[in-house]
Amino acid sequence: MEDKGTWVVKKGFAEMFKNGVIMDVTTAEQARIAEEAGAVAVMALERVPADIRKQGGVARMASIAKIKEIMNAVSIPVMAKCRIGHIAEAKILEAIGVDFIDESEVLTPADERFHINKHEFKVPFVCGARDLGEALRRIAEGAAMIRTKGEAGTGNVVEAVRHMRQVMDEIRRVKNMLDDELVTYAKEIGAPVELVKMVKELGRLPVVNFAAGGVATPADAALMMMLGADGVFVGSGIFKSKEPVKMARAIVQAVLHYDDPEMLAKISEDIGQPMEGSEIKDLEIRLQERGW
């Protein structure tokens, strides 16, 4: 009588991350630091996005040994990334028992036309989106969680802000539309009309919506929460900062107290030097343009 891997169980798991911080880690030691700081989950990686960007080449799923090492180190959920459209990498990650898969533009895409049919999996997926249409296409494919793409590995929050504002703006517009207008609007943004209707009813995405891609300080995390994020992914921002333990702890608290400026001031006081950031216009590759 028990049903595993149902939509309710996958979507419900994502709800448990709300008001939480998910941190990129590359070693068991970093995973323990993240757990100790209060992360709700860790993302197991071979290299953080800032290093992927610097080193170039093809970025693939992390090694199984690396992911298992991290899974064995902590009691909190462990996520891992697969390439866009790489069904086999996703199957492998599911087989080793990863708790959540990020079908991510940070890795080099394996398919330039199709994303993975995520309904076929028991393990839930999170995907990046820059606007409402993209978010709803991913949900139609079975994503149980959405995040902004931002621009990973830059320490520059501007793109995450753009994407969160874009999605929120479109949700507000849908809320005010007449039912007559929804079909045409769905066509314009390239999303299934049933999901557009659901957004109108709920006044939000039908799944949890996190911020990601460029968050580097407690203030950045608070900003994303102010703009309506349900929680925050921090990639390079923790372990590329000068004092990762302090930074990790401060970002966790900033997500909780984002609406209390005095608390934020206190939280931001002793965090050491954040990661170095880059200007978006100087980038050779814009990871956010991957995904269809």
Binding site: G38, I76, V252, L256
Partner: protein, 190 residues
């Protein structure tokens, strides 16, 4: 005077509990700081990550304030992570700190990782009108309990819901369903 029920608003599926309380016509208050406890008649600790919720409770000493209130009879209900926080200890992570306000020992992620998460129909003592859809997400189990603990529900002979006096716990998430019956059971304790 109408009752107000708090939902511990540190981390997790806070909104889902608030919505189910609203559906029952109950005023729900999100509780972040210890002083907010004075404004509510009862508290729900939601699902989320128990390690995160505990760390955030400790920073503001919410853990101490809440323990003191519960020991004086304040009604509290914990789902999943909330059950772990209220328990007397974690079998597989013995170093993990808890409130120790209900005499149960729990095992975290007792069914395995997320791919093992499931839904199943449950028979709950005190919940009439048929089975209840239990949603178990990386759920904990009660592996040991004291004589004052009443087991309200078992799944495959494992206890998944229990009550001791003013403390109610469940491994599963009624807040992720549209079914209000478990919340109604808790409201009767106020």
């Amino acid at each position: 005077m109408s009752i107000k029920v708090g939902v511990l608003g540190l981390q997790g599926d806070i909104r889902e509990h608030v919505e189910i309380l609203k559906k029952l016509g109950i005023e729900a208050v999100v509780v972040k700081l210890p002083e907010h406890l004075e404004k509510v008649d009862a508290l729900i600790i939601p699902g989320g990550e128990s390690t995160t919720i505990w760390k955030l409770m400790k920073i503001t000493r919410m853990n101490e304030a809440l323990k003191e209130k519960i020991e004086k009879g304040f009604p509290v209900y914990g789902t999943c992570a909330g059950m772990i926080v209220l328990s007397s200890g974690v079998e597989n992570y013995p170093e993990q700190e808890t409130l120790k306000v209900i005499d149960i020992k729990v095992r975290r992620n007792a069914f395995g990782r997320q791919v093992e998460s499931f839904e199943a129909d449950l028979n709950i003592k005190g919940v009439s009108d048929g089975l209840f859809r239990g949603i178990f997400i990386r759920a904990p189990l009660i592996v040991d309990y004291g004589e004052n603990v009443e087991i309200l529900c078992e799944y495959e002979e494992n206890p998944v819901m229990a009550r001791q006096g003013n403390v109610l716990v469940s491994s599963f998430h009624p807040e992720l369903t549209e079914d209000t019956r478990v919340h109604e059971l808790f409201l009767k304790m106020i």
